[in-house]
């Protein structure tokens, strides 16, 4: 356990300090050092997106980031999406549209969808599918996920529901 490095970062709005080995991924640090198990490990090769987190406004696979790289960065995880006991509109719409079955990919999808809507509040279906292509779901066939994201976008724009509930 030699070689641990001190890292200070901002996690879901709070300053967080931790020690980690340089070989530990940010995913491992979040889960095993900080106890934030919302980001999931599905592949450890950046192919499934289950570990998605937002770093300085950009969604990334936390399995392909070293924990030490978090120094001075701002990190958002699924645990930070609900505020003051209120679900984020994406979380609410995932529930209403039944956009999850087993739920293991859900945190990654929510984080990737948030990153999309933060930049593009009015995406087309194709833009949603493109933005979420790095998140694999084996349960839903994606249909209800895409509908939930489009609906959440409509709600966040302040309009009425963008697509009919499935």
């Amino acid at each position: 356990m030699a070689n641990k490095v001190y890292v200070e970062t901002t996690l879901n709005g709070e300053t967080v300090e931790f020690l980690c080995e340089p070989r530990q991924s940010l995913l491992e640090v979040l889960r095993d050092v900080l106890g934030f198990t919302g980001a999931k490990e599905g592949c450890l090769t950046g192919d499934c997106g289950a570990c998605s987190v937002i770093i300085d406004g950009r969604v990334v696979c936390s399995c392909l980031v070293l924990g030490v790289e978090a120094q001075g960065k701002t990190i958002e995880t699924v645990e930070g999406m609900a505020r003051d006991g209120q679900l984020h509109p994406l979380q609410q719409k995932f529930l209403e549209h039944a956009a999850l079955q087993c739920g293991i990919c859900t945190p990654g999808f929510l984080v990737a969808a948030k990153a999309l809507l933060d930049r593009n509040p009015n995406p087309t279906e194709h833009e949603v599918r493109y933005a979420l292509a790095g998140n694999l779901c084996r349960c839903t066939g994606y249909d209800k996920i895409v509908r939930a994201v489009l609906d959440a976008a409509a709600v966040m724009r302040g309009g009425t529901h963008g697509v009919t509930g499935a």
Binding site: N3, V5, E21, P22, R23, S25, L44, T45, G46, D47, G49, S52, R58, V59, V60, C61, C63, L64, V65, L66, V68, E69, Q71, A112, A115, L116, Y130, A131, A133, G134, N135
Partner: protein, 289 residues
């Protein structure tokens, strides 16, 4: 993963010192989207990682009609994809950068890393070859330049010495009526490695092609500059016949393998299909300029 150390240098000079001290054990970490996977699999075993993302000299992204494009080796692909100037002048390079992995990957991966990884299937490499890009490589001994097509020497290996850093690419400004295009074939619509990738850039004078460069990916141990195929287009109108001839010449230098991404026979077939397709698109774009 084996135990490592990590350094975040604040300048190129600092990085070169760290790299020199690390010797054979050092390696530059850019986006990490290939390197960290290879380290976990035991394919590469560097013990000292030096982060390219914190080096300002590797983050340069500038264009002028006089100097052309300076593209820092550690510029993440999202910056290329979202840059309106690049989209205007180098649509093929933007296409290539936009095809690598998911949004998550594009937010990390870099063109420099894509090349230094040494994969014959790197998407941006054929696009850079088509554009005649030159690599600027720094070491304690000074700076040298290497043409992109000469950079990879075998799968996973490049011309870089252990103490060298790929700093940036320089790409000439496109002359009038010049355009590029990159396409690859993958079985899905996203996330796959190219079965074959082809980049092309052409310059037109009226209907006559005055310059052309074609780069090929995933059809040989290294990315290829299709010299004869490119030369065959010069002086001719870019019609179906000329394009078909160039595609056949491109197929002639391809030496593909059979693996889980495709058979040699299929790859050879795709070289023809994609060469024709990218040349047509590049020609249309050049005419429109």
């Amino acid at each position: 993963m084996h135990a490592i150390t990590y350094e975040a240098p604040k300048s190129l000079e600092h990085a070169l010192r760290l790299l020199a001290a690390a010797g054979e054990k050092g390696r530059v970490l850019a986006g990490g989207t290939d390197l960290l996977i290879q380290m976990r699999a035991g394919v590469r075993t560097p013990e000292r990682l030096i982060d390219a993302k914190t080096i300002p000299e590797l983050q340069v992204l500038s264009f002028s009609p006089h100097e052309g494009l300076r593209l820092g080796a550690a510029v993440p692909c999202y910056r290329i994809v979202e840059d309106p100037v690049l989209c205007q002048h180098y649509p093929g390079l933007v296409e290539a950068a936009g095809l690598i992995g998911s949004v998550q990957i594009k937010n990390r991966c870099t063109v420099g890393g894509n090349l230094c990884n040494g994969s014959p299937a790197a998407d941006t490499t054929p696009a850079l070859i088509a554009l005649g890009a030159v690599c600027y490589v720094a070491s304690p001994r000074g700076t040298r330049t290497v043409a992109v097509e000469d950079f990879v020497v075998s799968p996973g290996r490049t011309v870089l010495q252990p103490d060298e850093v790929l700093v940036e690419f320089r790409i000439p400004a496109p002359p009038p009526h010049t355009a590029d295009c990159y396409q690859r074939f993958i079985p899905r619509n996203e996330m796959d490695i190219a079965v074959v990738g082809v980049g092309a850039a052409v310059t037109l004078d009226g209907e006559v092609c005055t310059a052309a460069r074609i780069g090929l990916g995933a059809v040989a141990p290294t990315p290829l500059f299709a010299r004869e195929a490119s030369a065959s287009l010069v002086g001719k109108p870019l019609d179906d016949e000329a394009i078909a001839t160039a595609a056949e010449l491109a197929q002639k230098i391809a030496r593909p393998i059979t693996d889980m991404r495709g058979t040699a026979e299929y790859r050879l077939h795709l070289v023809g299909v994609l060469t024709r397709r990218v040349l047509k698109v590049a020609a249309e774009r050049a005419r429109a300029r």
